[in-house]
Structures are given as C-alpha cells and as structure tokens.
C-alpha cells in the first residue's frame, strides 16, 4: 500500500537534512497516522497531539531507522506504541476482557437478523461507522491496535507481526479476540449491524 522504495529515497534525503523531504513524509502519512491516533484515543485533540509527537519523535530517531524494514512499518510501530503508552498513562477505562468476552472457544449465539437493508444513506453509514468507532475505542489498547492495523490500515497479519514485534500466532489470536469483542458489543447494544 505504501511505496517502500520511494519512502526509502525520501528518508535518505531527510537524513541529509532536506527539509522538503520530511514535509513529503508528513504529507504521505499525516492521514494514516492521524486516523490511527484518533481511533486509538477517540479524541480529536489527543489525536492531533499524539500524531504530532509521533512525527517529531520519528524525525529524532531517523538515524536509528534500519533500512531492512519498511519505513511505514517502523512509523506505525512508533505510532502504535506511542498511543498505547498514552492510553496507559491516562489510565482510561477499558473493558475488562473477562467481563465481556467470555471463555475462549465460546460459540456465538447471535440473534439473527432479519437482516435489514444495508445502510444506504450517507447518514446511516456515518452512524454505523460512528458506532463502530465507539466500540473499538473501548477495546483494551493492544486489541485496539491490532484491529486498526488490520482493518483501518489494511495490513496483513505478517506485517502487523513485524510492526508490533509479536509472533504471528499472537497477532492472529488478538485480532480474532478483538473482533469477537466488537461483534458482541455491537450486539449487546442492539445495534443493528
């Protein structure tokens, strides 16, 4: 999704001190990073501050960037960790996993849908996204992170494992768990998804 080769060229220009090169990086990643920060925190002001801090931090760490990784992976890793740290520091309330999720391997008895028409109008679709974002916001930080990297950033399990420096199996288990939680919460709030 991101052009690894082009990023590398831009990063090398950054390292030589070209101000325009960093502006290009900013241009390329401001949306993705801000979106990630917003969906992690659910607060525009926090998201803006966190995203800014991420870029400033990345600039300071440029010399430590290892070119054998994709720049985008490295950037998302820094951003994800930064958001998780922020959430922990602020001790925001999260769902207790035990409270909602039930045991592993549970079977879902979902009530079924006389499935209504797909949300057609712009307003309905916006509301659906809104609800989903609310639900995602309540996930514990690590679950939130994997969900966003997978669905908001459209990254593969392998890429997420690289970004978060976790075993593939852990990433997969967390994503499954997160989606179970999301589905269950949407259902409990009787949102018609």
């Amino acid at each position: 999704m991101f052009d690894r080769h082009q990023d590398l060229k831009t990063i090398r220009r950054c390292k030589r001190g070209e101000e325009e090169a960093f502006a290009e990086i900013l241009q390329r990643y401001r949306g993705p990073i801000y979106s990630l920060c917003f969906r992690m925190t659910r607060n525009a002001e926090d998201a803006r501050d966190l995203a800014q801090e991420v870029f400033i931090k990345v600039f300071g760490l440029l010399d430590r960037f290892d070119e054998k990784y994709a720049f985008s992976s490295w950037l998302f890793r820094i951003a994800t960790n930064h958001c998780i740290d922020h959430l922990r520091r602020n001790r925001l309330r999260f769902l207790s996993l035990d409270g909602v999720a039930g045991k592993d391997g549970e079977e879902y008895e979902l009530q079924l849908p006389h499935k209504g028409p797909a949300p057609d109008t712009v307003l309905e679709r916006r509301q659906a996204v809104q609800r989903l974002q609310e639900v995602i916001a309540e996930l514990p930080p690590h679950y939130k992170a994997v969900t966003l990297l997978r669905h908001d950033r459209h990254l593969s399990y392998e890429e997420i494992a690289e970004i978060l420096d976790l075993p593939l199996g852990t990433v997969k288990a967390r994503i499954h768990r997160a989606r179970n939680l999301i589905q269950q919460m949407l259902k409990e709030r009787s949102y018609d998804i």
Binding site: R16, G17, E19, F22, A23, L26, Q27, R30, G31, P32, Y34, S35, F38, R39, A44, A47, R48, A51, Q52, F55, I56, F59, D63, D66, K68, G105, E107, Y108, L110, L112, P113, K115, R125, A128, V129, L132, Q133, T147, H151, D152, H154, Y157, I175, H176, R179, I182, Q183, L186, I193
Partner: protein, 172 residues
Amino acid sequence: MTGRKAEQPPISCAECRASLQDYLDGTMVKTESMRVFLHLRDCADCEAVHRQWQATFEALESMPELEPPADFDARVLAAVPYDSYRAMAELRAPRVPVIFAEESLPAVVRSPVTRLAGMVVAAGAGVAMGWFDGPSSLAYLVLAGLLPEAVVRLQGALRGAVLVLQRDRGRA
C-alpha cells in the same frame, strides 16, 4: 465437483463457526475454505451467523481515513529541529579510522591533476620502454606514475570495507 466434495468430510456447525473469521479474512487454504463454503450453503443457522460476521467485517473495512487539522503540518515542521539536525550531521556521519579518511592523504596526491599527470608519465615511460627499447630503469618511472592513482583507489576500497563492517556491527 461432487466427486471433490465427497473427498472432504463435512464439517460440524462448531467447526464452521470457529472458522468464520479466517474464512472472511481469506487466510484459509482453499480446500478448507471450500468446506466452510459448502457448509454455509447447506446450513441456514451458520449462514446467518456468517452474514452477521460479514456485516462486521464490512463495517470495519469502511472506516474512512481522517484528516488532521489544517495547521497540522506547519506545527510539526515548526517543532522539528532542522537547524540543529543539520549542525549535527557531521557527528552522525559514519566515522572511519583516520588512516582511511580521504583527508589523511596529502591534497597534492589526491588531486585529479596529479593522478592524471602520473598516469600520463607512466604511459609515456611504458611506451618508451616497449616500442623504443628504452632503458629498463624506465620501469621505476611507470611505477611512480601509477602510484598516486593506486594509493587513492586502495584507500577508497579499504574505507568502503570498513564502513560496511561498521554498518553490520551497528545492526547486530
């Protein structure tokens, strides 16, 4: 197609439901996803659960990208310490032992003029030796002429090798 279906034992409802996320992720091997597909075709209950999952996946995939506030870039760029970054560039540059640094050779040796002139002298002496049967002492002149170019190239190659070694060590 029916023959193929017969090869695969059907899966239970529990197995089907446990596979739904992988199924929608598209990460299952083909034969396995085919078994899920066939089960969903025949089992209305699982198909209903499948549709619900599908709706969740679709919702997850449809989150739009958000734009930061208008002054975002300006704020970041204002906060990024370019001047000090440039000032520190020298310190950050990879360092090699002095003997491999270009500056450790006298400027007169490094000068392209010297190197070119040296090669011209060497070529001239070589020609004089070969074609005109000049004295063999001209061989010293050939060597002397080639010396500046050879020294510069050798040092460059060693410097390159040291940098590669350092980079590998830095990564380890």
